[in-house]
């Protein structure tokens, strides 16, 4: 089965379930029963299922359902839970600090989940476009440090070889900070090469003040600048791919705490139960 056909199938199933829930909710209303208890409990069960996906990853040695199936379930259940939440809140804005925080947390988790799916399906394909191979995230700082050292040596060498401090000064002011850490995060994320183009233009503007050997060294430095940019690009993308979970997961646990408090409060103050 292709990914596309699987997606269509799952969307259909998901839509059918969501429609059934809307219908059920409507039937409860028509029967003059309080549908919020039904949607509330379905919601909390759904949220619990979504949360335990993270636990599944802690037990790779147990014969649990493959993670890929879990993720599919997690994604589509997530959409159903959003529908349930809208039904449960009757699509009204919250009132009071507790409800507002709870409401915001829910949409922060749902939003980060949707964004997560978007980036995990879109960024990987871009990752190896510049290199032809996939760089391991943890190795990028090592490669960057190598480049920085090579450029430092070129800059130092230029002082003695061309009897001029132009390149060394430029290195100290502009290149040293550039090589010291990842740069142009947002530009890489949005695939803009403008910062690199500007930096190269700046480098080329120095050429006219150098002799032949100086220009050779500068050309070499420019190659290193491009190589550094080629490291920053996958670094930025991989940082987002790894980082979004550090938003999604802590928010999820916060949301679950609020959800449990909500249940307690509802039963404490509802006055009656179904």
């Amino acid at each position: 089965m292709t990914f596309t056909s699987r997606r269509y199938r799952n969307i259909l199933i998901c839509a059918a379930i969501a429609a059934s829930l809307v219908l059920l909710n409507w039937l409860f209303d028509m029967a003059l029963r309080d549908a919020s208890f039904l949607s509330g409990w379905l919601l909390i069960i759904g949220m619990a299922f979504l949360t335990i996906y993270n636990l599944r990853k802690k037990f790779p040695f147990l014969p649990l359902i493959p993670s890929a199936y879990w993720l599919q379930f997690h994604v589509y259940l997530g959409f159903i839970v959003i529908v349930l939440f809208l039904l449960h809140t009757s699509m009204e804005f919250p009132r009071g600090p507790f409800e507002i925080t709870f409401w915001l947390l829910f949409f922060a988790v749902a939003g980060s989940g949707v964004i997560g799916i978007f980036i995990t399906r879109n960024l990987p394909g871009r990752l190896q476009q510049r290199h032809g191979e996939r760089l391991i995230f943890e190795r990028i700082p090592v490669f960057r440090a190598d480049l920085a050292e090579q450029v430092r040596e070129l800059a130092m060498k230029s002082v003695t070889e061309i009897s001029s401090s132009t390149i060394a000064d430029y290195y100290a002011v502009r290149l040293n900070p550039y090589f010291a850490e990842p740069r142009n995060f947002s530009s890489h994320l949005f695939q803009s090469e403008r910062p690199l183009v500007n930096l190269r233009r700046e480098i080329r503007s120095i050429q006219r003040y150098l002799n032949k050997r100086g220009r050779e060294i500068l050309d070499d430095i420019e190659v290193h600048v491009i190589a550094k940019d080629n490291l920053d690009y996958p670094y930025a993308l991989q940082l987002v791919l790894k980082g979004w979970l550090f938003v999604h997961i802590p928010l999820t646990y916060s949301l679950m705490i609020f959800a449990l408090m909500h249940v307690v409060l509802v039963y404490a103050f509802a006055g009656r139960t179904l």
């Binding site: 089965m1 292709t2 990914f3 990853k57 802690k58 037990f59 790779p60 040695f61 147990l62 014969p63 649990l64 493959p66 993670s67 890929a68 879990w70 993720l71 995990t120 399906r121 960024l123 990987p124 394909g125 990752l127 190896q128 032809g132 191979e133 996939r134 391991i136 995230f137 991989q238 791919l241 790894k242 979970l245």
Partner: protein, 570 residues
């Protein structure tokens, strides 16, 4: 700070194949007919012939009815009968009547779960107390497995076709030499005493003594030929006398280089034309079809001329045939007996060449129509087209897989880089199931969006096994996965250097406190080789595949082109 633990540097024969071999046993083995003409002076003092027998061989006994080796199982040892008789089962249909051997070290649910807190905190921690244990030797040999037996062996053997082996005769050389599964089941016809020699011993004697090598190689050729012909679906409808006649006329050929991995590494950076030049031509396009070529073991590339170059249109491995289309076309329609494609040896390949006249006269008339190929069609794909109408994979991917010999893998780890987010769940899962040590690197050669990851592929032809001096690396008898016995490994790195795909790594081992374990004499860290073991003993198969949330990773047999294409073209 705690003092580092020391052990003596492991050496080749620290863990002999049979710990109980006495000098008297060695005398008995050396007196066997197969060894009686061995020239002991050809062996260096460090690897004397008697020492090889003492350390790389062992005496094993089987009771009447015991299954010694089973067809399809993996093994790399040769057996020589000292006393008794063994029956080689020639009737392959009889195999399903025998119970399967089920020896497998499987974790309990509790011990699997306990890995959550029992895994070591430091990398590559070893319990050195186990290095001194004399029990539970190598993991891969037949004799270590729980033995299955046939209760009423006489009546069982009476009903089927067998070949009886007597004292002094040997068996097992086919699997040992070609690194392929056992080609026949052998049962103890009477109580048996045998000497079992592991591959390392066989290799050394074969290397030093020409007569021994010729004897073993001749047996290998003769037995391979008859077994392979007998198992081919094309020949399965022949009666016994016709099959014997065909076998008598069939030629066994070996092409390419047995130690192909060393030349392959040199060729890795060359262009495709240079690579093709290094692959010996077995049968050339346009040449007269002198016979049907049946691949016995190894790999071959099938190419077709296109303008000034050669296009790879397929690859052939064990049990594939080449030239059948042309012969059938000639036999059925009177077409020309000219090969439409070229067959080249990738690495090393054993083939059988059945003369065309024999095929047309004796084989084709008995073959059911559905086994015969469709009529030949003169259809070619233009050079610029990535994929032909009937091709499963794109041309460039096909070239990539064949050129890099990825086709050797039976459990190759492929990653779809368009879906892999680099979350490293696969690496963490691997680490969690291997005492906090990942056994692969999420990196490797890439073609398009397909990465062939640096994880052991558990090759069809595992060349890493060839040079191991101790037998630490071997195939698991039951499922063929390539495994390393950590206690037998001396860290020489021969297997790591032999692996054409860089999937075996040397690591420095530590004790529970994180200190390196040192050699007691030189004080240098002890090293061992490690690699993927496909989560041997764990639940549910390879943890890496099960842990991937994005459907980006698969362990796949590269011979299953249909499944490969389905996965790649999702």
């Amino acid at each position: 700070m705690a003092k580092a633990k020391t052990i003596h540097l492991p050496e080749r024969w620290d863990r002999p194949f049979g710990p109980d071999m006495t000098d008297e046993d060695v005398d008995r083995v050396v007196a066997l007919r197969i060894f009686e003409n061995i020239d002991e002076s050809a062996f260096p003092a460090s690897q004397a012939f008697r020492d090889i027998i003492k350390n790389d061989a062992r005496l094993v006994t089987y009771q009447r009815g015991d299954i010694v080796v089973r067809e399809g199982d993996y093994g790399s040892s040769v057996f020589v009968i000292m006393r008794g008789q063994a029956a080689v089962i020639l009737d392959t249909q009889a195999d399903d009547k025998k119970e399967r051997r089920l020896a497998r070290r499987q974790r309990t649910f509790g011990s699997a779960f306990a890995q959550l807190w029992t895994n070591a905190k430091m990398p590559e921690v070893r319990d050195i107390a186990t290095y001194d244990a004399e029990t539970d030797l190598n993991v891969r040999t037949e004799a270590d497995e729980k033995r299955a037996f046939i209760p009423d062996v006489d009546s069982f053997l009476a009903k089927i076709k067998i070949h009886t082996l007597n004292e002094g005769q040997n068996f097992g050389e086919i699997a040992a030499l070609s690194r392929t599964p056992r080609t026949a089941t052998v049962v103890a016809k009477s109580d048996l005493e045998m000497v079992e020699m592991r591959w390392q011993g066989l290799r050394e004697i074969r290397r030093r003594d020409n007569r021994f090598r010729e004897l073993i190689d001749r047996l290998y050729r003769e037995r391979s030929l008859s077994r392979h012909l007998g198992e081919s679906p094309l020949l399965s409808h022949l009666d016994e006398s016709t099959l014997e006649m065909v076998a008598a006329k069939t030629i066994f050929e070996t092409h390419g280089d047995f130690d192909w991995w060393s030349s392959y590494k040199r060729l890795a950076s060359k262009d495709s034309e240079e690579v093709l030049k290094q692959e010996p031509v077995i049968a050339e396009q346009g040449a007269y079809v002198d016979g049907l070529i049946m691949v016995r073991s190894g790999f071959a590339r099938i190419t077709q001329r296109l303008d000034h170059g050669e296009r790879t249109v397929g690859y052939a491995s064990t049990n594939d045939v080449f030239g059948l289309d042309e012969i059938v076309h000639h036999w059925r329609d009177g077409g020309p007996l000219r090969l439409g494609q070229t067959l080249r040896a990738i690495g090393y390949v054993d083939i059988l060449r059945v003369p065309t006249a024999m095929v047309e006269e004796h084989i084709l008339p008995t073959v059911p129509a559905h086994l015969l190929p469709e009529p030949l069609r003169s259809k070619s794909t233009p050079a610029w087209q990535e994929r032909g109408d009937e091709a499963l994979l794109s041309q460039s991917l096909f070239d990539f897989l064949v050129d890099n010999r990825t086709i050797n893998g039976t459990q190759t780890m492929l990653i779809n880089t368009d879906r892999c987010t680099g979350c490293d769940d696969c690496v963490r899962a691997c680490s969690s199931t291997h005492n906090n040590n990942p056994r692969f690197v999420r990196h490797g050669p890439v073609h398009g969006n397909l990465q062939v990851t640096n994880a052991c592929m558990h090759c069809t032809d595992p060349v890493c096994l060839i040079g191991c001096p101790t037998g630490a690396i071997g195939r698991n008898a039951a499922d063929g996965r390539v495994m390393i016995d950590d206690r037998t490994c001396i860290g020489c790195g021969t297997c790591a250097n032999s692996c054409p795909y860089n999937n075996i790594r040397l690591v420095e081992i530590r004790d529970e406190e994180g200190n390196f374990i040192l050699d007691s004499e030189s004080n240098v860290p002890i090293v061992k080789v490690t690699k993927c073991d496909l989560c041997f003993g764990q639940f549910g198969g390879p943890a890496c595949q099960r842990a991937c949330p994005h459907d980006a990773l698969i362990r796949i047999n590269m011979n299953d082109q249909q499944k490969l294409a389905e996965w790649v073209n999702r």
